[in-house]
């Protein structure tokens, strides 16, 4: 049986094995599309048709399929610098020879080591834990008792008291400001938030702002500010719509 003439009928290719190899090497067929297992099965079928085992063909087939699989694997993992696959066949052969030779030498070296090991088999020597190196004695520098006392005094000094002022902050209830702003808005349709804050403590100002947010959330007021850090203007919401509502209600009442 001639492996190169093996007839293939694959999804990606139909024809003799030889041609497939040529097309793959010329990159006219993408190996990623080639079902290598299909090639193996086809070969096994052909092998089974024959009565005696053709060892030469098996060997050749193994070499070719192995090469094909290596190429395919390299193609599938392109991150790896494509080495052999990128090279011309002659260069690839040279590279492969170099690698094989390197491995063979290492194998020879391993053989040398094995032989050495057997001739040195009768060398017995002491193996123990690493010896303890003598620890250099650490001597203290001469000390002045007064200096030591000074250091201890520093350590013994009372630590500065921690300020607890922030824990005594009194926050007025938000409701207080809610009422205040609502009252304000019944008298005036709009007011300047910043001027209302005059004379208030920092904590009170914060609560006043919370109250403002609360009113806005309840849609009782609208807030505007011309620019960042500009005065915040607060106005009653729906002045007009409220008026419209009133009118609608009157109209409804009339029509009813």
């Amino acid at each position: 049986m001639i492996v190169r003439e093996l007839d293939l009928d694959l999804d990606a290719f139909e024809g003799p094995f030889d041609l497939l190899l040529t097309l793959v090497l010329k990159e006219e067929v993408d190996l990623a599309d080639v079902d290598v297992a299909g090639i193996v099965v086809r070969f096994l079928e052909r092998l089974a048709e024959r009565e005696e085992l053709d060892l030469d063909a098996c060997g050749e087939f193994l070499v070719l399929v192995a090469a094909l699989l290596e190429l395919k694997a390299r193609g599938l993992f392109e991150d790896e610098p494509a080495e052999l696959a990128d090279l011309e066949p002659e260069e690839a052969a040279e590279e492969l020879a170099r690698r094989l030779a390197e491995y063979r030498r290492m194998k020879e070296a391993a053989g040398w080591l094995a032989e050495r090991l057997s001739t040195e088999r009768d060398r017995f020597f002491r193996i123990g834990p690493a010896p303890l190196a003598p620890q250099p004695e650490r001597r203290l520098a001469p000390q002045d008792p007064e200096a030591l006392a000074n250091v201890v005094r520093l350590l013994a000094a009372e630590p500065p008291t921690v300020s607890l002022a922030h824990m005594e902050l009194r926050f007025p209830p938000v409701a207080q400001f809610l009422e205040r702003f609502r009252a304000l808005l019944t008298r005036r349709s709009r007011f300047d938030f910043d001027s209302e804050l005059d004379g208030l403590s920092r904590a009170e100002q914060a609560v006043a702002f919370l109250a403002l947010l609360e009113l806005r959330r309840a849609n009782e007021i609208s807030i505007s500010q011309a620019a960042p850090f500009a005065p915040i203007r607060v106005s009653r919401v729906g002045e007009e719509s409220a008026a419209v509502n009133e009118r609608t209600q009157t109209w409804n009442a009339r029509s009813a």
């Binding site: 190899l21 040529t22 090497l25 011309e88 066949p89 002659e90 690839a92 052969a93 040279e94 492969l96 020879a97 170099r98 690698r99 094989l100 030779a101 390197e102 491995y103 063979r104 030498r105 290492m106 194998k107 020879e108 070296a109 391993a110 053989g111 040398w112 080591l113 094995a114 050495r116 090991l117 040195e120 088999r121 009768d122 060398r123 017995f124 020597f125 002491r126 193996i127 123990g128 834990p129 690493a130 010896p131």
Partner: protein, 201 residues
Amino acid sequence: MERPLRLVTANPLDQLARTIEALLVVANAPLPVEELIAATEDDQERVEMALGLLAERYHEGRSGIVLESVAGGWAFRASRAAAEACGRLFERPVQRGLSQASLETLAIIAYLGPVTRPEIARIRGVAADSAVAGLTERGLITEAGREDGAHGGAVKYKTTPMFERVFGLESLSELPRLDDLPGDVDDLRERLHAVAEQRSA
């Protein structure tokens, strides 16, 4: 019978030799000459002369203890004649059951080290993880920094003094030159070229 008293003239070199002898008995790894000089607080020439004296005394066939220069230092070992008896009493776990894969990995590290596991795998064509782990456990190889010096690089391995000792090498330079090992490169090259020609034809 009582020996007649005799005047012993103190031979300083002999005294030094005795001190070195004591140091070598205490040590569990070969002691380099420099360490012997530091411990005896003597000079190099005299230490080397004393070592020569000891080497003559502790010689294969003369004594049960043999002084040898190994792994970059001096150490005592059992004489080969006593090996069988030693074997009945002690194991040599470091050497026992070194597989072909381990020996190949060891050879690569000995010749090309410091070398990383991926490099070993590239040469052998299979992952070297278990062989490297086994050799490390036996104390024949050890880590020798990382690639690129940073923390991200692969760990590099080199052989230990224990390797040289187990294989009876004074140093790694005693390994046969790689070029002297047959690689059959020409034969391989010819065969591969033939295949390449056929394929590209």
